[in-house]
């Protein structure tokens, strides 16, 4: 490895160190952005233009903010409590069981391109997390600790991500499938989207089995 290669990895080093030392993420990103500018040998004006233009290009990422007034309004009227009560009526409720069901729905919906069924703001926070928390209370007579509640909420978010990531890749028109096809086409290799999507199935099955086994084991471990 020569010096130029090591030098180009400086921005990655900044990110790794910043997150490892538990610095504020916004500060880590800023420091890494400056490091990347220095490594690229950019003029400060070009750096600012890249910053501005690439930000403007990805503004669509915040569209989900438009769902927050609906969620907040329903939460103020007792939606989270309602979600909890629905689960409390099911005696066999366990967080793991509930989340295995959610994983199956999320992953298969995503495989059919229905990625908007789910998500952290519109689904996990108002419904899945309070349901899972209510399910911990069905599990034992002693009230769960705050740490156990937080672990369960984090597991809800993790389940949503796993379901989405390893479902959407099976959908023919998904961006990643088309990106792979375009990349291979540039190299003179013709691949059909169907072939790429089909070869994603073994990994998708492994993802479901591994994550569901963890969730099942989580329920087993507790009395």
């Amino acid at each position: 490895m020569n010096l130029a290669t090591a030098w180009a990895l400086l921005p990655v080093l900044v990110v790794v160190l910043g997150f490892a030392l538990r610095q504020h993420p916004a500060r880590v990103v800023l420091a890494a952005a400056v490091a990347a500018g220095v490594v690229a040998g950019m003029h400060w004006r070009d750096w600012l233009e890249t910053l501005g233009q690439s930000f403007l290009n990805v503004r669509y990422l915040l569209v989900i903010v438009l769902a927050l007034p609906v969620i907040a309004q329903m939460e103020a009227h007792g939606l989270r409590e309602l979600a909890g009560r629905l689960i409390a009526g099911w005696r066999g409720a366990r967080p793991g069981r509930l989340l295995i069901g959610y994983l199956a729905v999320r992953q298969s919906a995503a495989a059919f391109g229905l990625t908007s069924l789910g998500g952290h703001a519109p689904m996990v926070r108002p419904l899945i997390a309070p349901m899972a928390e209510a399910a911990i209370e069905c599990e034992s007579s002693t009230p769960p600790s705050e740490a156990e509640r937080e672990r369960t909420r984090a597991l809800c978010a993790a389940t949503d991500n796993v379901g989405l990531f390893f479902g959407e890749d099976l959908f023919l028109a998904f961006g990643a499938v088309l990106l792979m096809q375009a990349f291979m086409a540039e190299q003179g290799i013709e691949l059909s989207p169907l072939a790429i999507a089909l070869w994603g199935i073994p990994t998708a099955l492994c993802a479901f089995v591994i994550h569901a086994a963890r969730l099942w084991w989580r329920d087993r471990r507790r009395p």
Partner: protein, 310 residues
């Protein structure tokens, strides 16, 4: 059709949040909070007409406020009267995905003079926007309250998420800067220099782990794929070892997704939910994902070795 109307809607909402933050003298860091949302609102409202360098100054300003000025707040408040609501409260929440899916599938066919009426090539974003507006109307009808109150409650939620809301955008910006600095190519070169890629299983492992590592560094498997597939997949696995390109691409990308599960750089998946679910440990979601990601990555490496060389 461009996304400008959606950006105006969001910009208007951020402006409303800025005004509320400015008027509210009770909570700390009033100026920082108001300034953050005012600047964000400007980038959404007039971003299309701003010179990029000036927009860059705005981005720098909000990133600095996010990093040094915004306080942390609790994101989860109990119901106003603490009681469980009527089951019909589920309707607006379920309406969001239902309407989004319906519109995403049908918008491309709503045509006048063979031009899409709404959405163009981005029906999902327009579908989600319309779904949120319709669900809000339904929510207001069911709760018999004024729109201003729901918008204020949503605003409190946005403020509680705080700086985390900005991270997905900042990280996308960083990804662009990384590719300008040649970070990905350097990482592929470093892997190539450190391990003997002419040994088949070494090349398989380097390809799968390289996808995961570069995805962790860039926060995005899409950015990592051309670099690793071009640096290791094509010249070594395919040309030297004769791997089948279809499973190589598919399983390689999914190895990258294992990296996405393990990195704070994928902010909208791993950090935004930390704020939304009011978790104290900033890495709680990543911690919950690592025990799935690592065995799955190992499974992917085995699948690569088996499926590519049948």
């Amino acid at each position: 059709m461009s996304l400008t109307p959606i950006y105006w809607l969001l910009g208007g909402y951020f402006a409303l949040i800025a005004v509320r933050a400015w008027r509210d003298r009770e909570r700390p860091a009033r100026i920082a909070r108001a300034g953050f949302f005012a600047m964000l609102s400007l980038l959404y409202l007039v971003g299309d007409w701003l010179p990029p360098a000036l927009a860059g100054v705005g981005v720098l300003a909000i990133a600095l406020i996010a990093g040094f000025g915004l306080p942390l707040m609790s994101a989860i408040a109990p119901a106003a009267n603490g009681a469980a609501g009527h089951p019909r409260l589920l309707l607006p929440v379920l309406a969001i995905p239902a309407i989004t899916i319906m519109l995403t599938l049908t918008l491309p066919y709503w045509r006048i003079d063979d031009k899409p009426v709404l959405g163009g090539h981005l029906p999902a974003l327009f579908g989600l926007t319309c779904a949120c507006l319709l669900a809000l109307a339904l929510a207001l009808r069911l709760t018999r309250e004024k729109a201003a109150l729901a918008l204020a409650r949503g605003g409190d939620l946005v403020e509680a998420i705080g700086w985390a809301i900005l991270l997905p955008l900042l990280l996308a910006v960083l990804g662009t800067l990384f590719s300008k600095a040649g970070v990905g190519d350097a990482l592929a070169r470093a892997i190539g220099a450190l391990v003997p890629l002419d040994v088949r299983w070494v090349a398989v492992v380097a390809y799968g782990l390289g996808m995961a590592l570069l995805t962790m560094a860039m926060g995005n498997a899409f950015a990592a794929f051309p670099v690793i597939a071009g640096g290791i997949g094509l010249p070594f696995l395919m040309q030297v070892h004769g791997a089948d390109p279809a499973p190589l691409a598919a399983v390689g990308m999914l190895s990258g997704y294992c990296g996405t599960l393990m990195t704070p750089m994928a902010a909208n998946f791993n950090l935004v939910p930390v704020a939304l679910l009011d978790l104290k440990d900033r890495n709680a979601v990543i911690r919950a994902q690592i025990p799935t990601a690592i065995p799955l990555l190992a499974a992917n490496l085995m699948l690569l070795g088996v499926l590519c060389f049948r």
